[in-house]
């Protein structure tokens, strides 16, 4: 069984773990290293490897400290170049080229975000259970044959965004950036509708906006749509 946990989520910082009983993976490292150690109960040694989606600081803040701590980091060449990473613990991941570490097989997938070569990750454990981790992407290009745990971005809804723009809370430039870099509730719903959710145990809505989202409403609507257990990160 896959255990997914969120310790920080949103535009300030992102930090998640995925554990299948054998191998624990750190997904994103957007908190300062001190806080990462704290929230993980000083259990950094339990982490087998780390996955990084893209170079923005809210996801990558502690990457150099994670490398120094002896944890291998898998990310795209675009992210490596943007962050100036080097060393034997930095591993280049290419979209659609899967690799296996411990009990996990990871398939990186290309995301749609305003960062160099952003990735999402489809992960499978030895029981064949699948976890999809997709954040900071305004849509997901793919459909999946099987999913057990879904951690997907649900950043804003169009009605709240339009209202905030009309009242001046959101600048037009920010709105235009959001439209082509983060996933809306509406797109998230279409993604869930397009996939076979029969085996899904849990849906995590991640990277929710502070001002352009309504967590309770989003959870209610996704739960009503899917009939699945929904958690807001």
């Amino acid at each position: 069984m896959i255990t997914f946990n969120a310790y920080a989520s949103g535009s300030n910082a992102n930090l998640y773990t995925a554990y299948d009983g054998q191998t624990k993976v750190l997904v994103e490292m957007g908190l300062p290293i001190k806080e990462i150690k704290k929230v993980l109960g000083f259990g950094l040694s339990e982490i087998s490897f780390a996955l990084l989606t893209h170079s923005h600081a809210d996801h990558s803040r502690a990457v150099k400290d994670i490398l120094k701590a002896g944890i291998d980091v898998y990310t795209s060449q675009g992210t490596i170049d943007a962050l100036g990473l080097s060393g034997h613990r930095v591993h280049v991941s290419q979209a659609k080229k899967q690799f296996t570490i411990g009990s996990w097989t990871v398939m990186p997938l290309d995301s749609q975000h305003d960062a160099p070569e952003p990735l999402s990750f489809l992960m499978a454990n030895q029981k064949g259970e699948r976890l999809l981790f997709a954040t900071d992407t305004f849509y997901i290009k793919y459909r999946f044959k099987r999913l057990d745990v879904i951690a997907v971005e649900c950043n804003y809804s169009m009605d709240i965004l339009r209202e905030n723009m009309a009242t001046g809370l959101v600048a037009p430039e920010l709105k235009n950036r959001l439209l082509k870099s983060h996933m809306s509730l509406e797109t998230c719903k279409e993604f869930l509708k397009a996939n076979d959710l029969s085996r899904v145990q849990e849906i995590w809505l991640i990277h929710m906006s502070d001002g352009n989202a309504d967590a309770d409403r989003f959870k209610r609507e996704i739960q009503a749509l899917t009939g699945k257990f929904v958690t807001i990160a």
Partner: protein, 328 residues
């Protein structure tokens, strides 16, 4: 003798397609916001909109039909499927501002699918001449002249910023070889105020600044580059080099920035301006929605092969192969 006369009368009373469009535009607009009065000039302008939109619909429908069944939208791009209320308002606003689709680079139209209505929204895309017209009409302090130039590697350019020695911003620009100017290294625009030269403004662009403004969806037919080669409705994987109009696009980029930089006078802002602004926002939404509709949730993917103990790789095993050397 009487029969031909009847025929003539029938022919005369039959409204043309463009007249029907015009009536629809006026009636749709009247339904939403009350009586509307368009001048003869604005009516003529609206006829131009009909012609331009009709052409845009035909092009979009041709593109739709070229797609394979899987990717083809079920709704044909025809007049019957156009969101007329939105279009009517857009046409009236644009016509009042004076944007004329018959003039080059004023405004162009593109249909975008509105999934909520299962209809097509006609989005108005302002050209660089349209931006100029809007800035001149609604600007607070419109310069007497706006000078826009590209600078090539063989040109001589020097800017003089306003300081204790220079009363106003100015520059020196010399083309040393008209027929072989070299590569584009940048460009500039200059807002020139004849009576108040202290207001003159010079903005310089490096080539990097220009390229940064190149839209992510820029077509190689305009900016140059490579495009996919299609055969039998499929990409062959080969790329074809397209020359495009790189220099003209660089110049237009600076031109747009030059007029974008003119402050809008709040007192001159009217409903038409606001509606045009709203349309720009709609366009951003429509473009994102179209990209999502065309690409999202389409390709089926899964992890290949069953994951077994044999395939396992313990953390650290790959270290031996990846010996970039320690860097900490």
């Amino acid at each position: 003798m009487t029969e031909p006369k009847k025929d003539n009368q029938l022919t005369k009373n039959e409204p043309s397609m463009s007249e029907r469009f015009m009536n629809k535009v006026v009636s749709e607009f009247s339904t939403g916001v009350g009586e509307v009065a368009l001048t003869e000039f604005q009516k003529r302008l609206a006829q131009n909109y009909f012609i331009a939109i009709d052409a845009a619909l035909k092009t979009a429908e041709e593109k739709r039909l070229k797609k394979s069944d899987r990717y083809r939208d079920a709704v044909p791009v025809i007049w019957a499927n156009v969101n007329m209320e939105l279009l009517a308002r857009a046409v009236v606003s644009a016509a009042r501002i004076g944007l004329d689709p018959a003039q080059c680079n004023h405004v162009s139209m593109m249909p975008f699918k509105n999934n909520a209505l299962a209809k097509y929204d006609i989005v108005f895309i302002e050209g660089y001449r349209g931006k100029e017209m809007k800035a001149k009409k609604y600007g607070l302090d419109v310069p007497d002249h706006v000078i826009v130039e590209l600078v090539y590697s063989s040109d001589k350019f020097k800017s003089f910023k306003r300081d204790r020695n220079n009363k106003y911003e100015t520059y020196e620009f010399e083309v040393t070889n008209d027929f072989d100017r070299g590569n584009i290294v940048g460009g500039f625009y200059y807002h020139l105020y004849i009576d108040k030269p202290e207001k003159n403004k010079l903005v310089v662009f490096t080539i990097k600044d220009i390229e940064k403004r190149k839209p992510s969806y820029a077509a190689p037919e305009f900016w140059g580059g490579e495009k996919d080669v299609w055969k039998d409705g499929r990409k062959t994987g080969e790329k074809q080099k397209v020359d495009g109009w790189y220099e003209k696009m660089c110049w237009k980029t600076i031109y747009r920035a030059a007029y974008q930089d003119i402050t809008i006078d709040s007192q001159k802002i009217d409903d038409d301006y606001m509606r045009l602004k709203a349309m720009e926002e709609t366009m951003a939404e429509a473009k994102a929605a179209q990209e999502i509709a065309e690409n999202a949730n389409s390709e089926v993917i899964d992890i290949e092969g069953e994951v077994t103990e044999d395939q396992e790789e313990e953390p650290g095993q790959h270290d031996a192969a990846d010996t970039d050397g320690p860097d900490f």
